[in-house]
């Protein structure tokens, strides 16, 4: 069984994408900065302790604001993935703006010598253009779509193809822990031991169904002490089970693309069936 640990280092971008007026909210900005400044080092220490690889999806703006976090992630040998520039949904701003944002993110990462292999849409809200942008810019996988719970090959229709490494809301710390009144990023704070229990159940269930465990955590959330210890509990549970291999999303994507038995899906925008 394969497990992929993803850390989306949204930082300030997650609140500023909602509205730039949140720059005036010193508490909200400090709340988000906790991610790259405290959460990332703690997460890196946890990964080092168990010698696990991971994938950090870093918005371009976050990379520019927090060079130290990017450098630490790279120094520890982890993958950095493309996570848009401004952490805005791909929807609602049009294809030109999506392309421009995609390329700004690439430029930001390239300042650190990073040529990302994969992309994850902000809030996973990909458009039907997103896969083409990924392929066109030489990336090899996406991690935003949810029509499977195992990796597959996504055929883009023009001969191009990318891998999809599917995430899901149920394996995301945001729904369990995020809380801010303004912007209203979340309204519930769940107990870390209960979250750990849910994710361990999910891991065991996914094994039974041949699925791939793709967990998404955010350093501004799961870098908090109680949550990082819940994450440790999940990791130890996986390791104790004896058959779980932790891999980066890029490694999983590469293996998927190379495997002739991989499931293949065609990119199919939704259409009115009537």
């Amino acid at each position: 069984m394969i497990a992929v640990l993803c850390f989306d280092v949204d930082a300030e971008a997650a609140v500023l994408a909602a509205d730039e007026r949140h720059e005036a909210n010193a508490m909200a900005i400090s709340h988000q900065r906790f991610g790259p400044e405290v959460g990332v080092p703690r997460i890196l220490a946890l990964l080092a302790e168990y010698d696990l690889p991971a994938t950090f999806f870093v918005p371009g703006e976050t990379a520019l604001r927090h060079p130290g976090a990017v450098e630490r992630i790279l120094a520890d040998g982890h993958e950095i993935g493309h996570h848009t520039h401004r952490h805005r949904s791909a929807l609602g701003h049009g294809p030109n703006e999506e392309r421009r944002d995609f390329e700004l993110a690439l430029e930001a990462l390239q300042r650190y010598g990073v040529s990302p292999k994969g992309h994850r849409a902000a809030m996973w809200e990909a458009s039907w253009l997103t896969p083409s942008l990924i392929a066109e810019h030489g990336l090899t996988y996406d991690s935003s779509l949810m029509d499977r719970d195992s990796p597959y090959i996504l055929e883009l229709g023009d001969g191009a193809e990318i891998a999809e490494v599917p995430p899901h809301w149920s394996l995301d710390d945001w729904e369990q822990y995020a809380f801010l009144p303004d912007p209203p990023i979340g309204s519930i704070i769940n107990s870390p031991p209960q979250v750990a229990a849910m994710w361990k159940h999910e891991l065991d269930s996914m094994r039974r169904h041949g699925a791939t465990f793709v967990l998404t955590c955010h350093p501004f959330l799961s870098g908090r002490a109680g949550r990082i210890e819940a994450l440790r509990e999940v990791i130890e549970h996986a390791l104790d089970s004896g058959d779980v291999e932790f891999k980066s999303a890029a490694t999983v994507a590469e293996a998927t693309l190379a495997d002739p038995t991989s499931e293949r899906l065609k990119l199919r925008p939704s259409v009115d069936p009537s």
Copy 2:
């Protein structure tokens, strides 16, 4: 004691009914497609493993978009029920539109040779016209009203009558698992083992009160690994109790209509008492 397992195969219709602009949201569409493409086969396998009948309520649009899912359900011998065409509430669009949608759904199902015996309103939001549409089109039961927790006969006032197989929000996976920010279909992700515990408690309590356990799950939700294993836990609990019979909604409705001791209620639109 009788248990009815219902699976509402909403798929894309559940988000497109809110607003067709969600067609542009590749993630949301993929999230919904998981239901017919992965969830339905898993649910069918689970039912086969325990040799249980079930009722699949399939919107007309879903049937047209996902012929494979419909055919698998039929091949396994399960009931397919009417679940509107577009998965829109019966309220807010007027009686002509409700009738038109009702008939489009019948046409869609008839392409697969299905003449549904029962109807369930989208989001259970039936109008006072809905029961008449059901009777007029030769269906024999509804599963949307909540004034009882056991099946009864609903007298429509013109001599016609249908059976009602009452669902309830507390026996629905949507309130426990659904999460999407846009459209905002839900905002909480509960832990599957906690949901299983709640439903097992409900089953045991309903036995004590002579009620019928009518569970509603959605393949895009309960087809996920952790949730399908929670559903298995509920099924095993029911089977272990020794006195629970699983039946399709149509079978329950037929028995209700044939039973002279069934409770009979008149269709009574609400009126101002003053």
Copy 3:
């Protein structure tokens, strides 16, 4: 220690107060009718089984719509309290309308020979006029204010006084179980055993602090099988503790008014302190 079981028989009024257009929603109306038609008889049976008194707060409109429920409650010897006529907040419609609604509720109850001793505001949203209306119409207590967790005497400033039997959101089934999308009466469905655990903890804690356990349940919610069994668990826990006496709200109010050691508070509308 004293425990007061209150049942607010809101029925249709709880959704029609939000907007009369919900009359068109057959499911929502049926959902609310479950309260007086199924929930009330089950609750009466539960109370009879343990020989406990209780107080049923019944809106005037509900009394008119559901004579059978009112008669059953009276036949079992329970108290019926005033719960407004239309189940609308006392706020937002002005003092004339509040007075008119108060009197309509009295008229409705008087059709059953009921002269209520106490009043509870809809959603507990009392105005500063509400206590005067209560006193002026010869009722002796209110159960809407939350500045204490034990009964007290409320002095109205003109020599009049009533008792207050304080409820609280944490001892209400609505926040735990209510769910309807439209009107949005609630968005969470908690597990009955977890609710029972919370209320048992509250009972034990209130004993330690000399408080009075005033529990509010709604037949359309707690009349459901899983919830009524949770309520039974709370009742049995209280009885097992050996020192809990169940009393009606009127009995508690009467004792409070008669007790010279009762705490006395003056009615004090809020004022700007600056």
Copy 4:
């Protein structure tokens, strides 16, 4: 390990800051008054029982409305901190209004002879001006920012510096217990034993990460019997662990400022990185 118990005595101000029309809501006002009138004495008794120091952040308006509560807190030797005058966010009203509110709060506390050492923003929503107001008025610490989970020194850029004692949403009773429909201060009521379990887990986890446990409770919430007993459980867990010292926020701030090894951060408003 250090633990700081903070009690934010918001009382009526928490609802009136949303809209002064809530003055008309007798229930909501009574709900808030429970804090200073019942919650504060219970919390003081709990602290006395374990001989623990604590910090009470009291809005100026609350101090003027509830002199008895202020006097009791002072009589028991606890710290009183500045918590704005009207309990409004520092955002949205401009710097002149923030300064004016800050000074009104000082005046209100000074009527009781209190010269507060520290400040906490209402809802923790500090502006970038807030730290300067704190330093300018001779206070020595803030407790609103969340970029660390241990105290640090905040350099204001003009040579001035204050201590920051970081709070966090996960260690706040508001998110777990607050419920009012109007104003909508919260929509979930969690079970006190579950909250105690979460906070005990957080305490143990924070020890592992060298963090400082800064708990925030509100007397109108945690003064309720079930919640105060949950708080007792957390306190006893901390005491049982043998290495936890309870300190007031002012004591922690003073030690932070005096410690040459304290972390030092510069006040850095957020800027567009591009």
